[in-house]
């Protein structure tokens, strides 16, 4: 049994409710909203999709929690679960990439920064990819690129719509140019999906930046975003430092992008499932489409 299997098994055996990292400061029963400071009963917070009932702040959630909010219960079947990252450049900064990967895999129980699979939402077929920001900032290396590409290809073969929940700091520097090329690879797969006249919708969550913004995040037939999510190509610090430009109010928020024409809909997390299912139906997706 590999180490990975051991973790997978362990997680199956103990069905603990994984709580978002931002809530860790709570004492277990109660959570404090980092935005407005409201203290709420944790079970209520989770029941409300980790959206603060006081101020509407969307707390960060991990990929498993996200899956539960989107897919019909028990319908999600993961694809390519055995794909793992390698260290093609033998990269080492202050720590080695190999160590970083191992530690992150242990702390998150994930192999890399995306979960992909096939599921149903309100009975409708959907290929679903969910990025996980906890895994090295949701950065995109070879595994993220390969898993998303395979998922889009599978969706194209089956005639299924695609949803990718984005949460990423961009390309993963530790895999160098291999990471950059994933942007092209996924875009190529999305081109074929589009050619087949199938629906692709990304959901941009906090934060969606860099190489992910400059590829699949911005290629949706429709582009959805969560309220207040940070979305941008260049980092705010880069813009401020190198160009000494003062950033406008609300710069690079979902609302700001919508104002400038790059986001179709800002959907509160609590309404996402019903909104998304409506969109699928409006675009002719039916339960029968499932092959």
């Amino acid at each position: 049994m590999s180490l990975f299997d051991w973790f997978a098994d362990r997680r199956k055996a103990v069905p603990v409710v994984r709580t978002p990292q931002e809530l860790d400061e709570g004492d277990g029963l109660w959570s404090k909203c980092p935005e407005c400071g409201l203290v709420v009963y944790r079970k209520d917070l989770i029941a409300n999709a980790s959206v603060c009932s006081g101020c509407g702040h969307h707390l960060r959630i991990d990929s498993e929690a996200r899956l539960r909010l989107i897919a019909d219960e028990g319908s999600f079947q993961a694809l390519d679960t055995d794909l793992s990252p390698t260290d093609p450049l033998a990269f080492k900064d202050r720590r080695s990439y190999a160590d970083r990967l191992r530690d992150t895999q242990i702390s998150t129980g994930l192999r890399d920064a995306v979960i992909t699979g096939l599921c149903r939402i309100d009975g409708l077929p959907l290929a679903l990819g969910v990025m996980d920001f906890r895994f090295m900032g949701g950065s995109m290396g070879s595994v993220v690129g390969e898993k998303l590409t395979r998922m889009v290809e599978t969706a194209t073969d089956r005639g299924w719509p695609v949803l990718i929940v984005c949460a990423s700091g961009g390309a993963r520097m530790q895999e160098g140019m291999l990471s950059l090329m994933q942007m092209a690879k996924i875009s190529g797969a999305l081109q074929r999906h589009r050619q087949a006249e199938l629906l692709y919708i990304p959901l941009l969550t906090h934060p969606t930046t860099g190489g992910v913004t400059a590829s699949f995040a911005m290629l949706g037939d429709l582009i959805l975003a969560e309220p207040k999510a940070l979305i941008g190509f260049a980092g705010r610090r880069v813009i401020e430092q190198t160009l000494r430009e003062k950033l406008p109010e609300g710069f690079q928020t979902a609302e700001y992008l919508q104002e400038h024409g790059f986001v179709d809909l800002i959907v509160p997390r609590t309404r996402f499932r019903s909104t998304f299912a409506s969109l699928l139906r409006l675009h002719g997706v039916t339960p029968a489409v499932a092959a």
Partner: protein, 329 residues
């Protein structure tokens, strides 16, 4: 010889060159035959230069790739084309000067040529925005590539940018969207696309005109996922570690060839392309003609499939990736 900005590792050459120059002056003023000494010194200088440039570190290659005298897109286009007309505008309200394009002819073959354009001096660089294209630049490129597709003109792109422009206006105009659309649509082009990194290939800003059937790089060009300066300040928390980051990131032509990410490495004249721009242009022209001939023999369907497969193979993962039994089947 025109004085040019010398790179720090070229310093050992300076003394030699000064000696050569002195002897030349001396020879002019006197009757003494110094041709023998001159030849010796020149051979020595050439050998030194060869030695230095055959052992450049990645950080030094960046300096060569960014050299202000390194031939630019328009320099190459002037030399390699037999006819050339620059075309302008993205048809959405702008004409980016940092990304140029037009139609031309190489031998008997009409082509569309597109590339990042840096300036030679500060004034030019301000006009060219240091080769950092705006969303309008990528949209102009896409418009020209669609034009090429419609009239079946092969596309030659030249990559030479520190990165796509990062500014408030660029964000508001959709820098991410502009690049993303190019990445997707370049997979649809029914004509051969050849991209060449002539200087520095900076991340998404380079890839935005870089989805090609053949990706070529000059020997001392670099292609990076993130600038080593940015990478160093993020991962090392110390921008001074940029040379270390440059090595770790594997950004040289030789490294990228080995990783299977590029197809051809074009050799440079001793001392880099700025020492022999015409020779560099000749190398480029020859390689482009060769690749155009090969790609021109493919059917459109084969071309599209090969381009898809080329990028499909990029990446290194562990595990066979077997698929779980699927929903509803």
């Amino acid at each position: 010889m025109a004085r040019r900005p010398l790179l720090d590792f070229e310093k050992p050459l300076v003394e030699l060159e000064e000696q050569i120059e002195q002897i030349r002056q001396l020879a002019k003023d006197s009757e003494v035959d110094v041709s023998q000494q001159l030849l010796q010194l020149e051979t020595l200088a050439a050998r030194r230069r060869e030695d230095i440039f055959s052992a450049l570190t990645p950080a030094q290659k960046i300096q060569v790739a960014r050299h202000p005298q390194r031939p630019s897109t328009l320099d190459y286009i002037q030399v390699i084309t037999d006819e050339w007309l620059e075309l302008h505008g993205d048809r959405r309200g702008s004409d980016d000067q940092a990304l140029v394009g037009g139609v031309g002819r190489i031998g008997e073959q009409p082509v569309v040529l597109i590339g990042h354009q840096k300036g030679r001096d500060t004034k030019e660089n301000v006009a060219r925005n240091f080769g950092m294209a705006s969303p309008g630049g990528y949209r102009k490129a896409m418009r020209l590539m669609e034009h090429a597709d419609r009239f079946r003109l092969p596309i030659l792109t030249f990559i030479d940018t520190p990165g796509a422009y990062a500014g408030v206006l660029a964000e508001e105009l959709g820098q991410g969207e502009a690049i993303a659309v190019n990445l997707r649509e370049m997979f649809r082009l029914r004509v051969p696309v050849i991209a060449t990194v002539i200087g520095e290939g900076g991340s998404g800003g380079a890839l935005g005109i870089g989805v090609a059937d053949r990706l070529m790089m000059f020997e001392h060009s670099v292609y990076t996922v993130a600038s080593p300066e940015a990478c160093a300040s993020i991962l090392w928390r110390d921008a001074a570690k940029a040379p270390v980051a440059a090595t770790a990131l594997k950004i040289t032509a030789a490294d990228l060839l080995q990783l299977g990410l590029i197809d051809v490495v074009l050799s440079e004249p001793s001392g880099g392309n700025h020492w022999g721009p015409l020779q560099a242009a000749e190398t480029l022209r020859g390689a482009l003609i060769e690749q155009l001939t090969v790609l021109g023999q493919l059917s459109e369907a084969a071309l599209l499939q090969q381009r898809y497969d080329k990028f499909r193979r990029m990446g290194r993962v562990l595990g066979a990736g077997t698929t779980d039994s699927a929903v509803g089947s």
